[in-house]
């Protein structure tokens, strides 16, 4: 007798629980099944973020403005840096900030995704990768707000973007993939070692100054190869090249940034999946 409640009489899911295999791969089918949870958690992060700040949604606009503003003042006025190709310093730093926030917001939100949800992990089952993945939406919203702002500033400064602008999503994607890969790995590590969360700001601080955010990478002279080992250098330069037509990036550098992002994601997600079923035991 088929029964709507018990499902008896229908084909049923069969689930086997066993000790963790040493080679566990990310189970994307299981994540797809939990897509509603992924979206709901992402929506929660967004809602909570703007309910908790007094300025609310305004903050999302103010933050990059302040960041680019202070960089323009320090580099343009005090240090008297010249942007390549006569680009206004503000456009230079704002475009740098777009890619930088895509990366840094992703990595910092992702890295704290597990500790911030310890209660969920110890009380409910779901594929744990959902937590680091759910933070991406928040960052995406930030970036989607910054892009039209960048367009407005281009109009204000009468700067004509070249046709290569069609490539810009690629560089945002690379920055976020890089942040998500490293962040996911750190999120898992932070469950076991709580001091990981204090290491992250040091790393991002260093990367910030090692990346061409408020200056053009063309100013980097003899250490160029070393400089471009930082995958963000190529990504930011690439974004600026595509959107503003300024700066130079070689195909080799484009390939290198993409490969780094792919490796970061593969290693981060793979390592995370190997650890995820023990998170509830240590968190």
């Amino acid at each position: 007798m088929p029964d709507a409640i018990t499902g008896a009489g229908y084909a049923q899911e069969r689930l086997v629980l066993e000790p963790v295999a040493p080679l566990a791969l990310p189970d994307f089918i299981e994540i797809w099944r939990h897509r509603d949870l992924l979206l709901t958690l992402a929506a929660r992060d967004l809602k909570v973020r703007y309910k908790q700040t007094a300025l609310g949604v305004l903050w999302i606009v103010l933050q990059p403005l302040l960041g680019a503003g202070i960089l323009t003042y320090v580099f343009g006025e005090i240090a008297n840096v010249r942007a390549p190709g006569g680009l206004p310093i503000f456009l230079l730093s704002f475009s740098g900030m777009v890619v930088w926030s895509a990366f840094s917001s992703t990595i910092s939100r992702t890295a704290s995704a597990l500790i911030g949800n310890a209660q969920l992990i110890s009380k409910v089952y779901f594929p744990r990768l959902i937590l680091p993945l759910s933070t991406i939406l928040s960052t995406l919203v930030d970036v989607l707000v910054m892009l039209p702002m960048l367009a407005i500033f281009c109009i204000v400064y009468r700067w004509q973007p070249p046709w290569t602008i069609v490539f810009f999503p690629w560089f945002i994607l690379i920055a976020m993939a890089l942040g998500s890969g490293i962040g996911t790995w750190m999120a898992g590590l932070a469950v076991k070692y709580r001091d990981v969360q204090y290491v992250l700001p040091v790393i991002t601080q260093t990367l910030f100054w090692a990346s061409p955010i408020a200056y053009g990478a063309s100013r980097v002279g003899k250490h160029r190869t070393l400089y471009f080992l930082n995958p963000l250098a190529g990504t930011i330069e690439g974004f600026r090249w595509s959107v503003l037509g300024v700066g130079f990036i070689s195909p080799w550098e484009i390939f290198y940034t993409a490969a780094t992002a792919a490796v970061a994601m593969a290693v981060g997600y793979f390592w995370f999946s190997r650890m995820e079923r023990s998170f509830a035991d240590v968190i």
Partner: protein, 425 residues
């Protein structure tokens, strides 16, 4: 009628490892430094099997209680079955969707509205968005928070909060449901409603696993039960047999309560309780006392550290595992002063207030604010007759932890209408 096996556990084991001397969480810095100082040495680990060699089958439609003392492995079993943590050995096969409620309101966010939290919590419990939307009105109705559904839950009273949280959980429609003592929340009315809902779920043909310390709830809801002791399965079968086995063991364990083998005993040992007995109204040692009559609880101690003073307190539990009352020296600004090397402490109860049944006493001694000794199964006694009320009857233990003397009055009529309505009576 033998239905299909839907949960089958074979040789299930869960091992926990703690690094020796570890307090709280590990840090990268310490791990790094240790590797530098002792490059070839692996840190010593303490191993602990929370579950070992547990095998059982559960059939579709069974409502099964999981019982056992603290640390018996109940929570670990639930966590393994609900996929929160992986087993270390063995395997489990589950047929059908599994939903687990180890806590009410997991993931509730204070800044979000009731509506938003229903969808959030539902998704966390594994419900699809359409499923929640379909049952949304039902959930809100059950919780009784219609007017406040678009208010942030931080403005809710704790009662409303719990009701809404339970309402979401109660509408989880999985074939297998795993529940951990979520009934122990909310006010009495709501608890009754929850129990009713649980009974409805239990009667609906779904498979339910239910962990609780409340034996009467277990006996009311479940047909079958599993008893765990120190990570091992002791017995599985009909609920009444298993509960009897559990309570019997609890009673037997009182015989070895003061030996070193008592696994439930904790404390730093600066003072040790060495024995306990019950004296009846005549001052004789007894296994049973009479309600309404005096009784004395007597404890002997040994004081190897030469401590000067201590505070003793105890909790009385009934056969359902519920705490009835607590006796505590410090409540009356009392304490034991000028302790000897050994000694005897007595607690006099002028009139035993417990209904008929079996009781267990957990006793603890604090020295300098720390547990010196805590024996959860120190003493077992029964109340077999009563002179508490004018009849020898006492309320059933399910409705009464301690008895209170009371008087009844009656007047005809209500308030000011008393006189006017008196004649109509």
């Amino acid at each position: 009628m033998s239905s299909e096996v839907v949960i089958s556990a074979q040789g299930l084991g869960k091992l926990y490892e703690i690094q020796r001397g570890q307090k709280g969480h590990l840090t990268l810095r310490e791990t790094f430094m240790r590797r530098l100082q002792h490059p070839f040495e692996r840190p010593a680990k303490e191993q602990f099997w929370a579950l070992r060699d547990v095998s059982f089958d559960i059939r579709a439609g069974d409502v099964v209680g999981i019982i056992g003392r603290n640390g018996a492995g109940k929570s670990t079993l639930l966590k393994v079955l609900s996929r929160i943590t992986a087993p270390t050995e063995g395997r489990v096969e589950l047929v059908g969707r599994v939903g687990s409620l180890l806590e009410v309101g997991t993931g509730f966010h204070p800044e979000l509205t009731g509506r938003e939290n229903v969808f959030l919590n539902g998704a966390i419990l594994g419900m699809r968005r359409v499923e929640i939307a379909r049952r949304f009105d039902e959930i809100v109705d059950f919780a009784g928070v219609q007017q406040f559904i678009d208010t942030p839950v931080k403005k809710y009273s704790s009662g409303m909060y719990v009701r809404l949280a339970f309402a979401v959980a109660a509408h989880l429609e999985t074939e297998i449901l795993i529940v951990d003592e979520v009934l122990a929340v909310g006010d009495i009315d709501f608890q009754r409603k929850c129990l009713g809902k649980m009974q409805e779920v239990a009667g609906s043909g779904r498979t339910v696993l239910f962990v609780s310390h409340n034996m009467s709830a277990v006996q009311r809801l479940c047909q079958r039960a599993i008893l765990l002791r120190t990570g091992k399965l002791v017995c599985a079968g009909g609920v009444d047999d298993v509960v009897r086995e559990y309570l019997g063991h609890l009673r037997d364990s009182a015989a070895t309560a003061f030996t070193g083998e008592n696994p439930d005993r904790v404390g730093n040992g600066v003072l040790r309780i060495t024995g306990a007995r019950v004296l009846n109204e005549l001052g004789h040692q007894a296994t049973h006392v009479r309600a309404g009559q005096p009784a004395t609880l007597e404890f002997t101690y040994r004081n190897p550290s030469g401590s000067r003073s201590a505070n003793m307190f105890m909790t009385v539990y009934n056969q359902l595992g519920s705490a009835c009352t607590q006796f505590d020296m410090s409540l009356n600004h009392q304490s034991v002063k000028e302790l000897g090397e050994t000694g005897t402490i007595r607690c006099r109860i002028p009139s035993v207030p417990f209904p008929l049944g079996e009781y267990r006493i957990a006793v603890a001694v604090d020295v300098d604010g720390e547990h010196a000794d805590l024996v959860p199964n120190a003493l077992v006694f029964s109340v077999e007759s009563s002179t508490f009320f004018e009849t020898p009857r006492t309320p059933p233990a399910t409705y009464c932890a301690v008895m209170v003397q009371h008087d009844w009055e009656h007047e005809v009529g209500v308030g000011e209408e008393k006189v006017a309505t008196a004649g109509m009576g």
